[in-house]
């Protein structure tokens, strides 16, 4: 993409995030019905998310006493912006990346850190106890999954001898990283579930906190927050598909279609995990993350480093 027209970049990132969020909503509805062992009415599943979004956009907006309005409005924008930034570093074809910078993995790490800021602000701004508790729980969660996430991505960068996502994708032309580094994708999916605070690691917006950080949010703001969460989940899946599943490479089909299929596969796994696995108690997850996941991620780094040398 060149300087003079940012429009293709906006369209690509917007299309990926928008279609991805819609796919997440559709998969969510389907997974809910499958888990409840009911029939899947195709029309309802496809139109359902759009109907829910329209309804949420029309709901009346309520507010709390003395909230931090600017921070409250900033939080979903931060999440959406960071998701867009992460998607921008991923190539969707041999030469089709918005910003395939030399430090794509580090950019993803910076995205990860700012998402923590966004969720904490969302919990803090409402001036209400349950959202605040949700924000604090997310900080504990974020500090625990950040290290395994960063280490696993670094381990994937070692065979490519570069931090750019495009180089990592191209280094998988003979063997995908999910086969070469078996610890990588499971740890990445766990950390990614935490990053998007989805399903089993939904400390921030869990039902035990009556909706957590989005307990006091209603109307279009609620829709925006839900969309931003799904954008982050899509960004996690897109980066996972690029770094572990070989990205746009594959026989017969065109490159963007392979990318879409791999992303949808990871999204299906994440959404199914959200419906099949119960929410994990955060104290337990923090202990497991620091005591089990970080050593496993370090083993992953050492093994892939030894293989790369």
């Amino acid at each position: 993409m060149n300087w003079s027209s940012p429009l293709p970049a906006l369209l690509l990132v917007g299309a990926v995030l928008g279609l991805g969020a819609y796919a997440v909503a559709v998969l969510d509805g389907a997974a809910a019905l499958v888990t409840a062992r009911q029939r899947l009415p195709l029309g309802d599943i496809v139109i359902g998310p759009l109907r829910q979004a329209a309804l949420a956009a029309r709901t009346r907006r309520s507010t709390t006493e003395r909230p931090d309005l600017q921070a409250w409005a900033l939080a979903p924008a931060l999440l959406a912006g960071m998701a867009a930034g992460a998607v921008a570093t991923v190539p969707f074809g041999p030469d089709t990346a918005v910003a395939d910078v030399d430090d794509g993995i580090v950019a993803f790490g910076a995205v990860m850190a700012v998402v923590m800021v966004g969720v904490y602000l969302h919990g803090w701004s409402a001036n209400s106890p349950l959202p605040l508790v949700g924000g604090y729980r997310f900080i504990a969660l974020a500090l625990s999954y950040e290290m395994p996430l960063a280490l696993v991505l670094i381990a994937a960068a070692l065979p490519a001898e570069s931090l750019s996502v495009g180089a990592i994708v191209e280094s998988q032309y003979d063997l995908w990283n999910v086969v070469r580094q078996p610890l990588g994708l499971p740890l990445y999916l766990v950390a990614g579930t935490g990053l998007a605070f989805w399903g089993p690691l939904n400390g921030a917006d869990g039902a035990d906190l009556a909706g957590g950080t989005s307990a006091e949010v209603s109307g279009p703001a609620r829709l925006m927050w839900a969309l931003s969460r799904r954008f982050v989940l899509v960004a996690v899946a897109v980066m996972g598909a690029a770094v572990f599943l070989g990205g746009w490479q594959g026989p017969w089909l065109p490159a963007p279609l392979w990318m879409a299929l791999k992303t949808l596969a990871l999204l299906a796994v994440l959404v199914a995990a959200g419906h099949r696995l119960a929410r994990v108690r955060l104290e337990r997850f923090v202990v497991v993350a620091w005591v089990v996941f970080i050593p496993l991620a370090l083993v992953d780094v050492f093994v892939s480093g030894a293989l790369a040398l």
């Binding site: 790490g109 800021v117 900080i139 974020a142 931090l163």
Partner: protein
């Protein structure tokens, strides 16, 4: 707009914004906002670093500082009476001396920066600073890298030891005494 002009606009926007955000850190009443204005200042500096082609350093700065500023916000809320700034209060001491010291520091350094003659050897704009940094860290400056690593390890152990609730000699809360009542 040409690329050079765009870079200049971005530099003034983010560099000037960084200074304004740093000033707002000490102006705002809400403590959480103060921590995040500091993060905005760091993000501005990070963007300027990226514009100077030190992209890895800029991104790592944003990564580090996002986590650090969130921890600062958490500490503010933990320890201060009025973290949301709902009642305005100023908590400063030796204000005039501090302002004079700040202005003198700024004036001295800015004077040196503007007046002194620095050599003009710009970095190669097409170079690979990340790769060079990596080779330097693991090559000539390996000892420095290892020392930094051991320092960080010592910091981790030290801060856990200081902040831990249970020590060898009993609970951390034993022996604590509240401050005297009169605040001069």
């Amino acid at each position: 707009m040409s690329r050079g002009a765009l870079v200049d606009v971005a530099f003034w926007l983010f560099g000037g914004g960084s200074v304004v955000a740093a000033w707002l850190v000490f102006r705002t009443d809400s403590m959480v906002r103060a921590a995040y204005w500091l993060l905005a200042s760091f993000a501005g500096v990070g963007v300027v670093m990226v514009l100077l082609n030190a992209r890895f350093l800029g991104l790592v700065l944003v990564l580090m500082m996002a986590g650090e500023m969130t921890i600062m916000a958490v500490f503010m809320v933990m320890f201060m009476m009025n973290p949301a700034g709902l009642n305005p209060m100023t908590m400063v001491h030796q204000h005039r001396q501090a302002k004079i010291a700040g202005v003198v520091a700024f004036a001295g350094l800015a004077l040196v920066g503007v007046v002194a003659e620095f050599p003009d050897r710009p970095a190669d704009p097409d170079g690979e600073p990340t790769a060079e940094l990596g080779r330097e860290l693991l090559g000539d400056s390996m000892l420095l890298f290892e020392t930094a690593g051991v320092t960080l390890l010592a910091t981790m152990i030290g801060s856990i030891a200081i902040a831990s609730k249970r020590g060898r000699y009993g609970d951390a809360e034993d022996g604590s005494a509240p401050p005297p009542l009169a605040l001069s």
